[in-house]
């Protein structure tokens, strides 16, 4: 008799520690890969599990390996069909190598190996250099709130949730099925007993009848006790299901200047800003539409691909984008039904004279329509010292400054590096209660 041991209930994830060590080691490389992937991903896909190729730098395990392109080797292979000794076969040109009997080193020839990172790990890596406080990171990972909703009946529950109608119906059915003596039968018997008992001169027959009735009464009462009026099996409770809280819909407008002055770096920063805004909104709303409006000297609604990648030349008239947005809002997203968020990214260039028009549009219309309007100006890192947060700056910046103090739901900031993005959000969510009561 051997020793059988059932290990199935042993704790799982024995190698979780090893996995974390590995992640830590490959962190830098994974971060870079995630960053690249996020750059090319659609905004709404950022918040998902990602597969990344096996990191090579931090995670290589070198050993002394014979090089494939040197020396003389002998292979023995099975399945000869037509060769005889002395035959010469040309070598395959690239890769493969002769008989193909090279030992693949661990991790080296695994091009298609994808390492799956969970959503949390992706967010951690992606937001690492945004300097988000941990509390925000946690709430980013938070699931939606639930509201209990009636959903049928259950046999277990709290007394407060008893459904009386359903319970009584069950009780009635059971009483019928088990032939519980009715109240009427009981009273008939007791009445007759009472009648017989008061008879002054009971005959032998009536005495006999009385005896029978008493037995009958006892039987009925016993049965009524045995089959109670309401039994625990009858009881039904109202069942509640946790349903995700039906949030109002939100629409997020991404406005961006795509004229030639917006380069790769500027677009990347803008995208991070948009992604972050989307994640924050996603926490709050069930459904979010995203509208992309790009502009040069004219504005157009485009898809995400075009928004980030295709280039367009031309001048810069910012107000066209604002007008386009107003048009779309009136068209498709009435502000009574939709929570409207807008984020505008630009390098601050604008045609002369247009900035004031923009500020006016913002003050008069957009800030009234929107829950929140953020303007991010993406500047060169060297310019941060020159500009600081003073009033001077580009024409657009100066014009928007006038709106900034006036409207509580308008935020503007300058971004030179990823770490600058977060403070914008801190201000946004600090004022959120006020913005919500306004609705």
């Amino acid at each position: 008799m051997p020793n059988f041991i059932d290990r199935r209930l042993n704790p799982k994830d024995k190698s979780l520690g090893n996995r974390q060590r590995f992640l830590k080691r490959a962190r830098e490389e994974l971060k870079r890969v995630i960053k690249d992937q996020v750059k090319s991903d659609r905004i709404i896909d950022v918040d998902a599990a990602h597969g990344v190729p096996m990191p090579t730098d931090g995670a290589s395990e070198p050993t002394f390996q014979p090089s494939r392109g040197s020396g003389e080797r002998n292979y023995v292979l099975p399945g000869n069909k037509e060769f005889s000794a002395g035959d010469r076969l040309p070598k395959p040109e690239a890769g493969g190598g002769g008989g193909g009997k090279g030992k693949p080193g661990t991790g080296e020839s695994d091009d298609d190996f994808q390492f799956i990172l969970s959503r949390e790990e992706v967010l951690d890596l992606f937001f690492e250099d945004l300097e988000l406080p941990d509390m925000v990171k946690l709430s980013l990972k938070e699931t939606v709130t639930f509201k209990p909703r009636r959903a049928g009946f259950a046999t277990a529950g709290t007394p407060t949730n008893i459904n009386v109608g359903r319970t009584m119906r069950n009780s009635f059915g059971r009483r019928l099925a088990l032939h519980r003596p009715k109240e009427k039968e009981l009273t008939a018997v007791t009445d007759e007993i009472a009648q017989l008992e008061v008879e002054p001169e009971p005959t032998a027959k009536s005495r006999q009848r009385l005896k029978e009735l008493r037995v009958e009464l006892e039987r009925i009462e016993k049965k009524r006790r045995r089959i109670p009026y309401v039994d625990p099996v009858d009881i039904r409770f109202n069942r509640f299901e946790q349903q995700p809280l039906p949030n109002a819909n939100a629409v997020m407008f991404c406005l961006m200047d795509v004229s030639a002055s917006m380069g790769e770096r500027e677009k990347d920063l803008a995208k991070r800003f948009f992604v972050l805004l989307h994640l924050f909104l996603k926490r709050r709303y069930e459904r979010i539409d995203i509208v992309f409006i790009r502009h040069t000297d004219e504005a157009r609604e485009v898809d995400e691909e075009t928004f980030f990648y295709s280039t367009q030349s031309g001048g810069t008239i910012v107000s066209t984008a604002l007008e386009e947005m107003i048009r779309i809002v009136e068209d498709r997203y009435p502000s009574q039904i939709w929570n409207i968020y807008a984020a505008q990214a630009s390098d601050g260039d604008n045609i002369i004279g247009d900035s004031e028009h923009c500020a006016a549009l913002l003050r008069e219309k957009l800030t009234k329509l929107c829950q929140y309007y953020a303007y991010v100006e993406i500047i060169d890192e060297r310019e941060t010292e020159i500009f600081g947060s003073t009033d001077n700056g580009t024409a657009l910046w100066r014009a928007y400054r006038t709106v900034d103090g006036e409207k509580s739901n308008f935020q503007m900031t300058r971004i030179a590096k990823p770490a600058d993005i977060y403070p914008v959000f801190r201000r946004l969510f600090a004022r959120q209660p006020a913005a919500r009561t306004r609705k």
Partner: protein, 515 residues
């Protein structure tokens, strides 16, 4: 057919429970021990889930293993392939220990559980217990307690010295795992736990009583007479026991910068490498032996009417999957399947022992027709490794069956040449070429410590004996050299010397490559 009755069946249906497992085990044990004469360690069978199987995979099949990121990498890799369906998991995993631990997957059907019990708990187990390599180089009774010690020791080091420091040493040690085994000389016997404990206590005592004052004592100035240099060198080599093939052993004993706990870590890696080296040298035999044993036992049980026909079909199908050998030009060709080759050779030995042909009598006069195939096989299992087993037992019949041919590939030519095939003239050439390809020592780069000038520049001089002109891959070579430098503390140089001509083919050094 008439004698078959369902009452004798060990199990019915495909579900298993511990009662059927144990009934099947007893029947298998009876055949294995009484009819086949196997001798095995006591068995311990453990039921695990697929998740746990993946865990076991990634820690090189040991139930206990210290923590290291590379195991996490391997786990991610295995998991990826498993989830994608590229490859299934093994039905079992067996550990060379006493008692012999076999993991059975819970997903297996009852018939499969019987098959893998026969395969692992008797086939592999017999091989582990009897093969000379395992007897000499591994200590089945001590490995589990050693792994337990290793795991705890690594954890303790991480607590005391930080994870990063421990990882750095383990990374470097892992890079040298292939060069961390003794091949040419007999190993010192694995010391018992007590001895190890005492050695460790002594080290700890030395650490505690270390006084920095001793270092400040003036050294005796030595006159450097050039005439004596030569004698010094040979003296030095004698003291350091050079040349030394086991780089990890050398670094553990003689590294100039390592602290005692770091040496102990090297030792742990080295012990594990040594423990696994017999398995690498006996892949064909080990798997062949296990496959042959399960095939024999299952057939015997079927003949006895203890396994039903439906189950037998299932078992045969899975058996033939295991011993499937695709041709070299098949897309599925991964190399020669050790299960297929080992099983075919062992079946062939059985055939030669019982009904030999003329050819067999010529080739194997020592056992052709001796009738006792089981004894012949037990002898082969006990006294050979893959290389010598193939060299002695690969018969022309098997070569014809596999249609083996030999390709010679010279890197300077634009073609490969078919050197010999499975015909009268080619048999012995094919056989020795195949045997040679299973010689682990011959196929791994042979790198040895040649010299080290402890009083001079302290450079560690390694020599690579270049065989057949096969050089080292330069990228991984330089990376590995950096690991050696990390452990040695000073520059390391490597010279490639052609084994036949004695000519130096290349030279490299960490000093140069870092410039």
């Amino acid at each position: 057919m008439a004698r078959r009755t369902t009452s004798g069946l060990l199990f019915q249906g495909s579900d298993w429970n511990f009662a059927t497992l144990s009934r099947a085990y007893d029947a298998i044990e009876q055949v294995a021990l009484e009819e086949m004469g196997l001798s095995v360690y006591p068995n311990q069978l453990e039921i695990i889930t697929s998740e746990q199987m993946l865990d076991a995979y990634s820690s090189v099949g040991m139930p206990l293993m210290y923590q290291h990121w590379s195991f996490g990498k391997r786990f991610a890799y295995e998991e990826h392939h498993y989830r994608k369906g590229h490859r299934g998991l093994a039905y079992e995993l067996v550990i060379n220990s006493n008692p012999c631990i076999t993991y059975l997957m819970e997903e297996n059907t009852m018939a499969m559980q019987a098959l893998v019990t026969a395969h692992a708990a008797f086939g592999h187990n017999h091989f582990f217990k009897n093969n000379y390599l395992f007897r000499q180089w591994t200590d089945a009774g001590a490995i589990l307690s050693y792994m337990d010690f290793a795991k705890k020791y690594v954890t303790k080091c991480e607590e005391r010295h930080g994870t990063a420091a421990v990882e750095a040493i383990l990374d470097s040690a892992h890079a040298l795992m292939d060069q961390g085994v003794f091949r040419y000389r007999r190993p010192p016997r694995l010391s018992s736990e007590k001895v190890r404990e005492r050695a460790r206590e002594r080290l700890e005592y030395e650490e505690q009583t270390y006084s920095d004052l001793w270092r400040t004592l003036p050294q005796v100035a030595e006159s450097r007479d050039p005439a004596e240099a030569e004698r010094d060198a040979s003296e030095r080599k004698k003291v350091l026991n050079l040349p030394e093939e086991n780089l990890l052993y050398f670094l553990e004993k003689h590294s100039l910068i390592l602290e005692p706990w770091q040496r102990e870590l090297l030792r742990i890696v080295r012990v594990i490498a040594q423990y696994f080296s017999p398995q690498r040298q006996t892949k064909v035999m080990n798997e062949g032996c296990a496959t042959f044993v399960h095939y024999t036992i299952i057939n015997r049980l079927y003949d006895q009417g203890r396994i039903g026909e439906g189950h037998m079909l299932e078992l045969l199908q899975s058996h033939s999957n295991v011993v499937f050998q695709p041709d070299f030009n098949d897309r599925r060709y991964p190399g020669i399947n050790p299960y297929a080759l080992g099983f075919a050779m062992m079946q062939d030995i059985q055939r030669i022992a019982t009904e030999p042909t003329e050819e067999d009598r010529d080739w194997f006069p020592s056992f052709a027709g001796n009738g006792d195939w089981m004894e012949t096989l037990r002898d082969a299992w006990a006294n050979h490794r893959d290389e010598s087993f193939i060299l002695q037992y690969l018969s022309p019949a098997v070569m014809r069956k596999f249609r083996l041919f030999q390709l010679s590939d010279r890197s300077s030519d634009r073609f490969v040449e078919v050197a010999s095939i499975h015909n009268e003239r080619g048999y012995s050439a094919v056989r020795s070429a195949l045997a040679n390809s299973y010689d682990v020592a011959a196929n791994q780069p042979d790198i040895q410590v040649m010299d080290v000038d402890l009083l001079g520049d302290r450079q560690l001089r390694l020599q690579h004996n270049v065989k057949h002109g096969i050089l080292l891959d330069e990228g991984s070579r330089d990376a590995t050299m950096r690991h050696i430098r990390h452990l040695w503390g000073y520059e390391v140089s490597l010279a490639g010397v052609d084994a036949q001509s004695g000519r130096t083919v290349y030279e490299c050094s960490t000093a140069k490559s870092s410039e």
